[in-house]
Assembly symmetry: C2
Homo-oligomer: 357 residues x 2
């Protein structure tokens, strides 16, 4: 059995952190005979520089032929002056859409070894382990019509469309309910059903799908309240499911509750378990090339890959345990460093995880 | 000179807290000869019970004829089964729109006397004083087309429209820049210009208007990053300006940073300084009628009324100082109570503020 992984390092610190995650995968591949094969492609700013587009056809072909995709990060000031259609983030939106990666899993986990990094009081966040399931290929991100038009009176008007069909809501609902089923069986669906008709339908479909998961307790919350509750008492949540735009906002709030976004992975899955895996942090152009970036979010992303796409739970567990062992040993990259710990480079952190494996 | 104030107590704890704010206004009215006159109307669930609509014509007429509106809160479980068009929050959206109250000011202030109530570490929030300016009569809250339709394949599809014209953005920009000018002269405009064309126009117009305010430093931030930064380092912000939906979410996050949403007022202004003033908290049906609600957010809302609509800065200052004096004296309603303080009722808190005046 061969399992193809497309490797898209991207921009900024992307190549450095992806190299460490590949190192970890290669170690397990040898050790556990996982049949993993790697092939690299360009995405984002570096793809634009080479091919004039952030998502070249050959990258898309590579990803379509692969079983899973590992992405570093895209973007940087160099490409900010470009017009929208060819900006690095268009590559990201394009690949999500082309591969139909509609289910975006964003865990927010507080590592006890890093508890001090949170801006929240210890009792509010200690033990935090919540999962945000964000719809990723629909909603206002992709809705038509969209654009900027000129009105009869000569002034410009910008418009976008928030749109969800029942089937789009149903599939993300199933994704979220199955995840909740494997966790603490509580799912909170976040909407703005008191104002937006589109999210009224969202609430309706969530309620309907919940009948197929009698063991999962479904609740509904308005997005403004959800964003408050994340700050007030985040441990009340097990799994949250929401639309693309709300998920963008809430998952970043949730991530920041942990204080260590350099630690948080993500998965974006299609209907068949194929997925793209990436750290939730960005390309950090300010520290790129200096070997100081934290590779753990990317390493934890490949653990998610093994768990969700390849059903290799044991291998995934091993990676997660190795990361914990490295943290327990006091090894820290600069972003999570605190006094008394051992500050290491990107590659040294990768090595520490490999050694702990 | 007479100044007419429409009093809309609304539902739940609304009547109790509004009564205390009126008590404070009456005291100052006598003392400073402010020429205030009060007339009451129904809004929300109680208006529905009486007239079959959450915003009766006579209430609207009353508010249109008034110089300012004081609102308590609307809604409660009793009216949740009602169909959307007549639910209490429709009354709120209706009055915002009918009175063209496009500029919603939501301060998030941490009272040093209540610093412990925050879930954030003291050093992250101590001294927090930020102002969120939310566009309130446009965007996806009011955009057309909207609804739920049935597609050719028989499935339902929900849709809403995010839409802003240049002039709508320009007027909220001017509102935010003038406020920043009177504060620390830093304005952060929040958008999602990397994905939504509508907010690209938002960014463009903000930048254009900034030329008329050379003394104010304008920055731009994506909404996902803004929601992170509010948790990471909220004191970096002076004034934030954003669209209706993003403002709904971010202002609630910001409010919760203080840990005492029972303390936070808000103002919703039209182009001529006429305004509706209300606490940011809800109608709290669970504690309604028991005389335990905190009236301070409503009392601070009338301070905003005196400041923004009636240009009575001295009177506004007096109220704010009186609230601080009551807090300094250790007087607390249940929601902000902590050991060693004196727990008082809604009316006793109102009296404490009046005495401190
Ligand atoms: C870069 C941007 C388009 C993207 C998004 O908004 O989805 C990012 O914020 C994310 O959350 O992955
Ligand atoms: C009740 C609801 C319609 C309202 C809103 O979303 O604007 C509320 O959340 C608010 O922020 O005032």
């Amino acid at each position: 059995m061969t399992r193809k992984i497309a490797i898209l390092p991207g921009d900024g610190i992307g190549p450095e952190i992806v190299a460490e995650a590949v190192k970890v995968l290669e170690c397990l591949n040898t050790d556990m005979d996982l049949g993993l094969e790697f092939e690299s492609g360009l995405i984002g700013g570096c793809a634009y520089d080479e091919h004039g587009t952030p998502l070249p056809q050959q990258t898309l072909d590579l990803c379509k032929a692969a079983d899973a995709v590992l992405l570093g990060a895209v973007g940087g000031p160099k490409w900010e002056p470009l017009e929208h259609a060819v900006r690095p983030e268009r590559g990201l939106l394009g690949i999500r859409s082309e591969l139909e990666l509609f289910s975006n899993l964003r865990p927010a986990i507080l590592y006890p070894q890093l508890a001090d990094a949170s801006t929240l009081k210890a009792e509010v966040v200690s033990g935090l382990n919540l999962m945000i399931v964000r719809e990723l290929t629909g909603g206002i991100y992709f809705g038509q019509p969209r654009g900027v038009r000129t009105l009869a009176n000569g002034e410009k008007q910008g418009y976008n469309t928030l749109v969800y069909s029942e089937s789009e809501i149903r599939r993300i609902a199933h994704s979220a309910f199955s995840i909740a089923q494997k966790r603490n069986k509580r799912l909170c669906s976040v909407d703005k059903a008191n104002v937006l008709e589109c999210t009224e339908l969202w609430r309706e479909v969530m309620t309907e799908v919940s009948k197929e998961y009698p063991d999962v307790e479904l609740s509904h919350m308005y997005v403004d309240n959800a964003s408050m509750q994340l700050v007030r008492a985040p441990k009340q949540f097990d799994v949250m499911v929401t639309s693309n735009m709300f998920g963008d906002i809430l998952s970043d709030t949730a991530a920041m509750l942990t204080g260590s976004i350099g630690m948080l992975p993500s998965a974006s899955l299609d209907a068949n378990g194929k997925g793209m895996y990436e750290p939730i942090h960005g390309s950090a152009p300010d520290i790129a090339g200096r070997g100081v970036a934290n590779p753990l979010a990317t390493i934890l992303s490949v653990a998610m890959m093994l768990r969700y796409t390849f059903a290799e739970a044991t291998a995934a567990d091993r990676i997660e345990k190795a990361v914990n062992a490295a943290l327990d040993a006091g090894i820290r990259t600069a972003d999570i460093y605190s006094e008394g710990k051992q500050k290491v480079s990107t590659a040294e952190m990768g090595d520490a995880v490999v050694n702990a494996l």
